[in-house]
Each structure stands twice: as C-alpha cells, then as structure tokens.
Symmetry: C2
Subunit: 441 residues, 2 copies
C-alpha cells in the first residue's frame, strides 16, 4: 500500500471534530477505499483542553493556523476556520504556495479570494477542493465539475440556505410570522444571533457565485449578484402563493441569457409540482437545467457537522487517490469574465401584492399603469376584508384592501416603472410586495 496521506486540520469546531473522528475512527475503511492510509498528523484550534470525542494522542498541536499550514510534514491542509479574512486566508495561501493541497468548507473565502487561490493552486500543482462550501453533504461541486462536465447548462438554481428554508417552511406549516420563526430558528441553533447574513441572502449569494462559475465557466464574482432576502415575506404572501399554485423559496439562480449570465438571489415563487417546492426545513436542493436533457435535482442536508464533514472527507479522499481536477472545473485562464447582467433586464413573471385605498377605480388605475408598460396580467384579485358589508361603504378608502396581481413574463424594468406610476397616483397605501416567479423549464 502506498505511503499515508498526511492531513493537517485547522479548526476543531463541530465540523472539524466530526472530520477528525471520521479520519481517526474509520481509518481502516478509509484506507481501503483510498488505496492508502489517511493520517491526521497535526491540528490547530483555540482550546486544547476541550473534549471532542476523538483521541488526538500523537497528533501535533499548533497554536495558529499559519504554523500548521507551514508544517513541512503535512500533505493536505484542511481549513475549517471560516471567514474571508485571516487567519483562514493567509493560512490557505501559505499552504498552496508550498504545494500543499487544500480542502476547505469556506464559501466566504472562496467567493472573495477564490480566483487568486485557484491561481496559486494551479501554479503549485496543488488540489483545491471545496465540496463542503455549498450544499453540505450534497455532492454538487463534484457533479458540476466532473459528473456533468460534457453538458451545457441553461440554468442552475437552488435552495442554498437551510435557515431561510426552515423559516419559510415553518411560516407556511404552522401559520407563524417571519419574526416568530426566526426566533425559533435562533433557539434551535439554525440562525445566528445576528441573522442578517443568512436571511438577507448573502450566504446564498456567496454559494451561488461558486455554483455559477462551475456551471458556466465564468470567473467568480459575488458582486455581480442581485441580492434580496426574505425578511419582508408575510403569511399573506405564502397564502396567495398557495392559492396560485406556488410555494415561496429563497433561491439562488444563475442562468444564461442572450447577453451573459444572470445571477440573483431573492424570494421566489416556484410551481408546487417542482422538485424544489417539495424541499422543506433545513434541507438544501439544487436543480440543473441542461441543454437537451431533462433537469437534474440533488436534494440533501445543507449543513450540520456530520453532513459537512462527509463532504470534507470525500475531498480529502480524492486527494489521497490522486483524483485531481481543476478547482473550478476548467483552467483559470479559460474562465470567461462575468458580465453583470443588470436586474432591470430580468425577464419573468411577477407576483405583486399592493394595499390599495379602497376607492372606486383603484383596480382600474393599477391595471392601466401596468398596461402602459405592456405588462399582461395573468390574474388580478382584489379582496375586501372579511366582515365588511358587501358593497358597503368606505367611500374615502380609509381602510386599504389587498390587491394581488400576477403578471405574464415581463421585465423588471417595466414592473418597476409601473409601480412607480401607481405610487405616484396615490392609490396604494405602502410600498408593494414583489416576488419573482421562477417557472419549471
């Protein structure tokens, strides 16, 4: 059997400890699958004393990640520290510069510095594997960079943030407000004390920037992504979606257009019969629309120690077996520039919920403003609040009533103009809710 692959592991939190356990406790099985032993030889973490449920006797302890990355006796540097800055960044750079392969679960680092790191990996003939950075245990990186490599993609989209999907699923199932579900998610450890990064879509955007590069052969560029979160979603929206045959999900979408690659993160109405719509709770899912082939969907746990560790160990095993492919599936020099597709040009159906002042002619005014922008309506529903007398009075429109509109395919630009006109008319009580509709291919 070939010489052992020597692993240095930076970060022994939930994921790091799970990785250590898999390497140490399943040593024999892993060696069998890899054709050579995989040895954990060095680690670094903040607290040496903490019990992590794994025997680390004989494993060298480094005080900082940089020292571990420089350790001449490791072949692979596994970065599970997190964060786009130091120490993760400098440690990964240092490891690659010495020709050590790197395995990381750090989407933030890759979204921000991925291109530089890939260049360093190429120059020093090292692997840079990051299966765990997107979709936890779902093998989406391998699928895009190896499994479906001969294909061209029309669209890749998915539920990439378990926290948001948990919140939206619970709102729908238990008829709770966004705020209540967020609180529960925090209590369960699914959301951070400051949840902004998850619920405002930034986490999804970082992952999408990597997916888009893998699928479309473009340079990673998180700044090219339009981002909108789920904090404005109400039960009224979920109920309307249900009636219309949709479910609301926070999606990351990357799609080929005539002029470039559109990348966007926003709450989305997806048809109830789509695979993506079935995915509830913290589960993640990614659908790939492929030219000439029916869509492929991967569904699975997007987070959690064991799921993420599973992806990290698979990445390590690839290095042990000599499976090496370009980190982004293609040589860096061949990646195309990402042209930021302005969101104004986005084409699709739109759901709008407005609070209209209940005066004669309000619906007509709204419909006219939409027609002026050549927007065709699939449906318009104006509901009077329950309990109000039929045809009864409120001639001054003091109590606003919801108007729900669904458009046929139009452009973001047209929708924005129409809304501005409606607002200028003074017929609605507050800024309208807008949710984009994503059809099955």
């Amino acid at each position: 059997m070939a010489a052992a692959l020597k692993v240095g592991l930076a970060g022994l939190g939930t994921v790091g400890a799970a990785v250590a356990r898999m390497i140490v406790d399943d040593r024999e099985a892993l060696a069998g699958r890899c054709g050579r032993p995989v040895d954990l030889v060095a680690v670094c973490a903040r607290d040496k004393a903490k019990n992590r449920g794994v025997a680390l006797d004989g494993v060298r302890w480094h005080d900082d990640a940089l020292a571990l990355a420089r350790d001449p006796d490791i072949d692979v540097f596994v970065e599970l520290i997190g964060g786009e800055g130091d120490p993760a960044h400098s440690a990964v750079r240092t490891a690659l510069a010495q020709g050590k392969s790197v395995v990381t679960a750090n989407k933030a680092l890759l979204a921000r510095h991925g291109l530089d790191l890939v260049q360093s990996a190429e120059e020093h003939n090292a692997s840079l594997n990051f299966e765990a950075a997107i979709g936890g245990a779902i093998p989406i990186v391998k699928t895009l960079r190896e499994g479906l490599l001969g294909n061209s993609f029309a669209r890749v989209y998915g539920i990439l943030n378990g926290t948001c999907n948990y919140i939206l699923s619970r709102m729908e199932r238990d008829r709770l407000s966004f705020a209540e579900c967020l609180k529960d998610a925090q209590n369960l450890g699914y959301a951070e004390a400051d949840p902004t990064f998850d619920i405002e879509g930034f986490d999804t955007a970082q992952k999408l920037s990597l997916l888009a590069s893998l699928a479309f052969g473009t340079r990673i560029d998180p700044d090219a992504i339009y981002v909108e979160g789920i904090s404005s979603i109400t039960l009224a929206d979920l109920d309307a979606a249900d009636e219309l045959g949709y479910r609301v999900k926070l999606l990351g979408v990357a799609m080929r257009t005539e002029t470039g690659i559109e990348q966007r993160v926003h709450p989305t109405m997806v048809p109830k019969d789509s695979e993506i719509a079935q995915v509830m709770g913290v589960t993640n899912a990614i659908t790939m629309d492929i030219d000439g082939v029916n869509p492929i969907t991967l569904v699975g746990p997007g987070a959690g120690g064991a799921a993420t560790a599973s992806a990290v160990v698979s990445d390590i095993a690839d290095i042990a077996r000599g499976v090496r492919v370009a980190p982004l599936g293609r040589p860096l020099a061949t990646l195309a520039d990402t042209k930021k597709e302005p969101m104004q040009r986005h084409e699709g159906g739109y759901y709008m919920r407005m609070l209209a002042r209940d005066r004669p002619g309000t619906a007509a005014t709204i419909a006219t403003r939409l027609a002026e922008q050549n927007i065709s309506l699939e449906s318009i529903v104006q509901r009077h609040r329950g309990g109000r007398p039929q045809g009864g009075g409120d001639p001054k429109g003091v109590v606003p009533v919801p108007v729900i509109l669904v458009t046929y395919a139009t452009t973001e630009d047209a929708v924005r103009r129409a809304i501005a006109a409606v607002e200028a008319d003074g017929v609605i009580a507050e800024a309208p809710q807008l949710i984009r509709i994503e059809k099955n291919r």
Copy 2:
C-alpha cells in the same frame, strides 16, 4: 496541451450517435475542460450508410466490435452495443486485456460479468466507467464511488426504471388500467414490444446489483435479489394507497440488516411526502440513507439519448483528465461476499388487498389469522360495493367485497403464513394483493 485521448465507439444507435455528436461538435469546449483534446478516431456499427447527424469523415470504420477493441490506435473503448453476451462481452474483455480503458452503459453486462471485468481492469491498469448504466444522466455512480465515499450507508433505494414509473404515474393521473398504460408506453417508445424485462423488475434488479455493490462494498450478485414486477398493480391499489397517504412505486432497495445486505425489487408504497413519491413519469431517482447524515436524493432523466450520452461523455472526460478510481469504489479483493438475505426475513409494513366472500365473520377470521402470526394491524377496511343495500342480503357471500389491511412492521414470513391460513379457510375469492411499505428513515 497534452496529446489527444483517442476514442473508439462501438454502437451508433440513439445513445452512440449522441455521444459522437458531443465529442465531434463540442470538441473545443471538451478539450478546454479536459486539458487535452478528445478525438473520436474509430467506430463500429451495423449500418454504415445511415445518417446520424454527425460528420464521421476521417473516422475509421470497423465491421465488428472486436476489431474495434483491438485497434491499436485507440485509448478508450466505448461500448454502447448492449446485452450481456457477445459481441459486447468479448469486445470489452479484449479492450481491457490490452490495457485500454472502457466506458459502457451496459448494465446487463456488468450485472452478469462485472466482477471478471473489474478484475481485468485492475490487472491491466485500465479504467472501467459505467455512469450511464444506472439512472441515465444522474451522477449516481460518481456520487457513490467518490462523492460520498467517507460514509456508511444504511439503505439505498430508488426508481431505476422509467417505463414502470411512467406506467404507474399515468395509471394514477389518468385513471387507466395497467394494460392501457403499458400500451401507451409502447406506442411512445418507452416500453419494448416484449415489455417483460422492464415491467417484471429485471432491469431494475440489474441496476440495483451495481448500486448495492457501490454503496455497501459487496460483490455484484444479481441472483441475490428478490424480484417482483408491477403487472399485478390495479387502480384499486393506487386508490387505496392514496387514501392511506402513500404512492406506489417500483423500487429497487438495498439495505443493511443485522445479518447482511437485503436486496429487493418490488412495487412499494412510499409516503407521499417522501422525495421519491414526487417523482412522476419516466424520471428516475435514488435516495441514500447515510449513517448520521440526513438522506440525499438525486433526481433526473433515467434514459434517453442525450441524457445517457451526457453520462458517457463525463466518463470519457474522467479518463482524459486522468481521474481514475477503482470501478466499484474499492479494490476488488476488499469486496465482501453478498450473502443472500432471504426475503422471508424482510421486516416492514404490508398492505394487503383481499377479495373476501361477504359472509358474517369473514373480517374476524382474517384478523384472527393475522393475530396468530403476531401481526398487528394499523388499519382494516371492508367496503361493500356501492349500490348494494345497506345491511342487505348476500348471506351466501356470492359477491366478494374488498378488504384492505395495513400492518405494522412484521416479517414476510409471518405475512405469508397468515395468508396461507386465510386461503385455507376459504374466506377469500382469489390470491390477495400484497404491497410492501417502505418508510422514510
């Protein structure tokens, strides 16, 4: 750029022609992704004159597959002939014996001769890739042998035959009989003139034998699989399933038990909220239950020229890029023997539909026979045919009425004994329908 990988392609049917088009028409893109050109240098097929929508000028034509396999100027032999016998078998053997790597979509060949072929591939240092043999474009082989390699599996199961899933989906949606849907499937080209191989579960069993080996590290053994098809399924069963919260799917299931690996193919009731239950039409899906990690499901097109070709080209690309792993994920010598788990020992819930002679005490007799085998009932429903007078007469039990029973977890053995006793009692009119229930983990 490195030297071109030279491909010989045996079989130019729907899949073969699609592979040829992908290699020839997307030559530049493929070379970019692989880091070296992939050239189609030789082919063999029955009809030289046929137009396949691809320019084959300058490609050598062989009259038989064996001659192509022996062509000293090819690096990879792509076998798209099909069938477990010759010429496919001898051609693949010949190619491997000469150290040529092989890509095949031939599940029958691998189910029957896979172990010998893997041995030859190992001895001659060649790749043997077969992503297209299971689940069409779904990257399930790569996922099991590389992507989730650090994990242990509790159960792997899926819809592996699009014909059966099309028939069951149409029966349910359009309220048609099995025979009508089969006929439609034949007209649409989804089913063969002799549909036995698909509808009786043999195609699923061949694929399952490969999946089980990849997931559990066991030797391929299709004879260890219990096989039952869908031809006995009626609308009455689908309706009962619907009422009970299930949907009927033909599944291939491989699962770890205390004593071995249980492998079985049969119509199965799956909970409506499972990922698998959502999969309609010719689509395939595979769910993997992993120790310590939530399930992962892959869904996508299981057949069709473009989908299958996509998998074949990915396999070729792996060879071009030097990605080589053991064909079954582990060295042949480390594979465990498959101990055939007798179906009698299968544990799970059962659905039974009996046609009972409508006499006083029939339900009691049936319930007693089940109780004698320690089978607990989740539900028992006896319905009188619509139109018969309530409490009216048929004291001799001439017109049988359906009795539908659902059991809690029990064993196949107990169920078989109970049914035999009920039949001996003479209270049912024909052999009962039996459908196993597969719960979400």
